[in-house]
């Protein structure tokens, strides 16, 4: 059964939601035909509709890249920042306004190349936000340069004879960072799974890192071909604390029950290259969340003036 047919089936599943979903689209996405970013946008729309989120109580933050154009297309507040710096901006928004729902959309270059330092530290801060890394294994917007996730030997404009290093696996790296609290992998061509993963990430209190395998027909048309064509190349990690969207088991028959609490297991699964694995690799809802550990009681202007005058006393002569 083709993933296209599948996605139809799965849209029918809750057509009601799909209607309102469009209210969350501010304007049509300007990506190439067949770009996986459209799938991510659709899944987000469904999530927002399902949760009936109020546009002005959300903020979508991104860096620079095809993927980072995302906020322009969502009916919410958005900050289309600079390359690699979406996470610090998002952290600032969350620190100032914990009541806002913060979503970050970034790319494999934006997040784990130029943004790598912020990425590692944002995982550790564990501020409550949903982070979608749209991973097309390439630099799209700048037209076809090698990214850290480009497969070994895959040619681009900057390595015409093929990438010289094995790719950097975002999952293993994320799982290596202390205080990591939610790490998942999904793919744009399995809409039901993408949607379910977003839902789980949204429900998770803390920094939810989702690597979304994203097709780029323009520059990496073949990197995900097998996985798209043949569901048998994929194993679904399922668990009650993870995701297991109904209907998928018919298509994706390789299923593994993986308890997302098991970090050792998560790491070793992330390492294995025998199959593509989709699902929640790790999840711990109990870890310290930055804006919570940093929360301080509000103080009235009058009180502030009063306290400042007390501080002055210490310096008075």
């Amino acid at each position: 059964m083709s993933s296209l047919a599948l996605s139809l089936l799965d849209l029918e599943a809750d057509a009601s939601i799909c209607l309102d979903a469009d209210d969350y689209q501010r304007r049509p996405g300007k990506w190439c035909a067949g770009c996986g970013d459209f799938g991510a946008l659709n899944a987000i729309k469904r999530l927002l509709a399902k949760e009936q989120l109020v546009p002005e109580r959300m903020c979508f933050v991104s860096g620079i890249g095809c993927s980072s154009r995302f906020p322009h297309y969502v009916n919410a507040y958005g900050f289309h920042g600079i390359h690699g710096r979406a996470l610090p901006l998002a952290t600032g928004v969350k620190l100032a306004r914990p009541e806002l729902d913060v979503f970050v959309v970034t790319g494999d270059g934006d997040c784990i190349s130029i943004g790598a330092g912020h990425w590692i530290h944002a995982i550790r801060y564990n501020a409550d936000m949903v982070v979608m890394m749209l991973d097309n294994n390439i630099y799209g917007l700048t037209k076809n340069q090698t990214s850290p996730t480009t497969p070994l030997g895959y040619a681009s404009m900057t390595s015409p004879r093929g990438a010289q290093l094995p790719p950097l696996d975002p999952l293993q790296a994320t799982l290596g960072v202390s205080n990591a609290s939610f790490v998942a992998q999904t793919a744009d061509w399995v809409p039901a799974h993408l949607y379910a993963t977003l839902q789980a990430a949204y429900d998770h209190p803390g920094f939810s890192f989702i690597r979304v395998l994203q097709r780029c027909p323009k520059f990496t048309p073949d990197v995900f071909q097998d996985q798209v064509k043949n569901p048998d190349t994929t194993e679904m990690l399922v668990h009650e604390d993870g995701v297991d969207p109904p209907g998928l088991e018919k298509v994706y028959t390789h299923r593994r029950i993986h308890n997302p609490k098991n970090l050792d297991e998560a790491r070793s699964l992330a390492r294995r290259t025998d199959m593509l694995r989709l699902g929640v690799f790790f999840r711990d809802d109990s870890l310290p969340v930055y804006e919570e550990v940093r929360a301080v009681p509000a103080v009235s202007a009058e009180e502030k003036v009063k306290r400042m005058n007390e501080v002055f006393e210490r310096y008075a002569v």
Partner: protein
């Protein structure tokens, strides 16, 4: 070395004095100076204190590199800078003293109270290096007085390095007839977190220092003070910036540690949480700026604090804030550059990079407080400008203000400085994210949470709706509107005041922290009848109005700055190839007047005397050239 034989006290009355306490790092000079300075301040003297900080954290003791200490200048009237050389010094060993001698920090006939244990120390090496040091210093006629500092201290505590400083404090207390009760209060305050035992023994040490001085010294100094009713605070510039930020209602300071800026956040970390705010230490300066911008965008104007190398890293984010018109306050406590340069030392070399650091046209406001008092108020001003004009305000202080301690009028806090509740009112139908007033370029912010206002800001060229636009006219429109705001802001400014007559032979122009030293030098020249005035700028972008008119009333204009400039007459340096001081360069472009400069980057604040000398030299030069022209 001379030691005092017969005791017959003479008390000299002086208008001011400069004292140095010179120790190995870790021997507590800071505390001694802090208490002494506070005491002088409380007793109504004007005070300025400067730290002497070693390069390493804790360099080997008893070496010229281990020098740590303080300079305290205090006097009858207001003291605005560290002044010239020191008149009295207390030195814990001859090596640290030697380093000060080599820096020509000591007055020719400086009185030096020196630890006497080294001269005849059993260790030959120590005796030898002592003798050599004394030999080197004999070029000056310092008055050396041996004091058994360690010996006396050991009578009271068993670890001298936690006590000698208090004994020294006692010496000063006696020599300058400080009020012991005040000193005791200060000790009690500074050691408030320590045990009563420690406080008591410290007071005992002070008393023994006083006793020793009384018995052995034949001199004292009397520095009258003008008691005033005015309420005053005493602190350094970084503390002033920290308190100012809170007074300005800023609830987030997002920073990454860097000398000499870090202590601003130390101050804030200590207290800001009592004001509903936090200090966020980011993973680097880029993230620090990003977090601040994110928070400001979301409605809480934030502060980011750094110094040169950190400014370099914030370059890209500053442009983004300017482009999306998110208010942001950036405090740059300038240090010696370029690159890592002189991390702990003062310099004024970030002016041009603060104005022009960003690729692309990125108009921003740059201001430079001229005193510690202005450090406090600059935060309030900066925030107001940033919000009113939706732009970035860079505040330039420096290591001199950062560590200099001075008293100033206690600010009257204004509740309106505090941030009101974040505007969450519905956005009027049809209102746009960048509804630029075509005249002023100003527009009202739409903040996340405001119903009906959802939009996406972007660093790409955009139109009033914040939609990405590549159309020439909308690009030029955005550029024009962002630039216009500077002109509008400039129209609200007053021409700068002139210190001295409105016209004359020479106008000395400075900016920021050098005001005290420049004014003092100019006053000195004026009392000698020279037609010199001073003008200290505080707004650098946009520049204050009326400069050309002010300058044109003087035969010569010269900037004085703590940064680098070529000297005409040096090999290959001509009028054409000369690289000017940064303010001079700026003012030349602005006024087209042939503005000269005298600048220097010694890694320490300028001294009134150096400035005075260069004022005189400039007057000489211009006189001779003038005559030259006549003949």
């Amino acid at each position: 070395m001379s030691s005092v034989a017969t005791k017959n006290l003479n008390i000299t009355k002086v208008a001011e004095h400069t004292v140095e306490i010179i120790t190995n790092s870790g021997e507590g000079a800071q505390k001694c100076a802090q208490i002494f300075g506070q005491t002088c301040a409380k007793m109504g003297n004007g005070v300025w204190t400067v730290e002497i900080i070693p390069a390493e954290i804790e360099p080997p003791h008893h070496t010229v590199t281990s020098t740590s200490g303080n300079i305290i200048r205090f006097g009858t009237g207001k003291v605005t800078n560290w002044g010239d050389q020191s008149k009295l010094a207390i030195a814990f060993n001859e090596q640290v003293l030697l380093s000060r001698h080599r820096l020509e920090s000591l007055n020719d006939d400086c009185i030096i109270l020196q630890e006497s244990v080294w001269e005849n120390h059993e260790d030959e090496f120590i005796r030898k290096q002592y003798a050599e040091a004394m030999e080197e210093m004999s070029s000056k006629n310092y008055r050396f007085i041996g004091v058994p500092i360690e010996e006396e201290t050991l009578k009271i505590v068993d670890n001298p390095s936690h006590g000698k400083n208090m004994f020294a404090l006692g010496l000063l207390t006696e020599i300058y007839q400080r009020d012991l009760s005040v000193v005791e209060k200060q000790i009690a305050h500074i050691f408030r977190f320590k045990s009563q035992k420690i406080i008591d023994s410290n007071i005992e040490l002070v008393k023994s220092g006083m006793a020793w001085a009384r018995e052995n010294l034949d001199f004292q100094f009397d520095i009258p003070s003008v008691p005033s009713e005015e309420k005053r605070l005493v602190m350094n510039g970084n503390q002033a910036c920290g308190l100012g930020a809170i007074a300005a209602g800023m609830e987030l300071c997002s920073m990454y540690p860097i000398t000499p800026a870090t202590s601003v956040s130390h101050e804030l970390a200590e207290i800001i949480e009592d004001f509903g705010g936090i200090v966020h230490q980011a993973e680097d300066e880029i993230a620090a700026a990003g977090v601040a911008i994110g928070a400001s965008y979301a409605g809480k104007v934030a502060l980011t604090v750094t110094s040169g190398p950190g400014m370099a890293l914030k370059t890209e984010f500053i442009a983004l804030a300017i482009m999306v018109e998110v208010p942001l306050v950036v405090l740059d406590v300038q240090r010696g550059g370029p690159s890592t340069g002189l991390p702990t030392k003062v310099e004024q070399s970030d002016l041009l990079s603060s104005l022009y650091g960003q690729p692309g046209d990125a108009p921003r406001v740059v201001i430079a407080p001229r005193s510690i008092e202005e450090c406090f108020h600059s935060m309030v001003t900066a925030r107001r400008i940033a919000e009113t004009f939706r732009t970035v305000v860079i505040v330039l202080t420096d290591a001199n203000l950062a560590t200099g301690v001075q008293q100033f009028t206690r600010p009257e806090l204004d509740i309106r400085w505090q941030q009101g509740p974040i505007d969450q009112t519905p956005v009027p139908e049809g209102m746009r994210p960048y509804e630029w007033d075509p005249e002023t370029g100003m527009s009202r912010r739409i903040i996340p949470g405001m119903p009906g206002g959802a939009h996406t800001v972007t660093g790409l060229a955009h139109d009033e709706d914040s939609l990405v636009s590549y159309h020439p006219s909308s690009n030029e429109r955005g550029m024009r509107m962002r630039s216009r705001k500077l002109a509008v802001f400039q129209s609200t400014l007053m021409p700068p005041a002139v210190h001295g007559d409105e016209e004359g032979d020479l106008l000395v122009v400075g900016w920021g922290s050098t005001q005290g030293a420049i004014d003092e030098a100019v006053d000195r020249a004026r009392t000698e009848g020279h037609k010199v005035s001073a003008c200290q700028l505080t707004f650098l972008s946009p520049l204050e109005p009326g400069l050309k008119e002010i300058f044109s009333k003087f035969r010569n204009v010269m900037t004085v700055e703590i940064n680098y400039s070529d000297t005409v007459g040096d090999p290959y340096i001509t009028e054409e190839t000369r690289r000017y001081g940064q303010l001079a360069w700026l003012l030349r472009a602005q006024t087209l007047i042939d503005i000269d400069c005298w600048t220097s980057c010694p890694g320490q604040p300028l001294r009134p005397r150096e400035i005075y000398n260069n004022i005189i030299a400039k007057l000489e030069r211009s006189k001779s050239t003038a005559e030259g022209e006549q003949s």
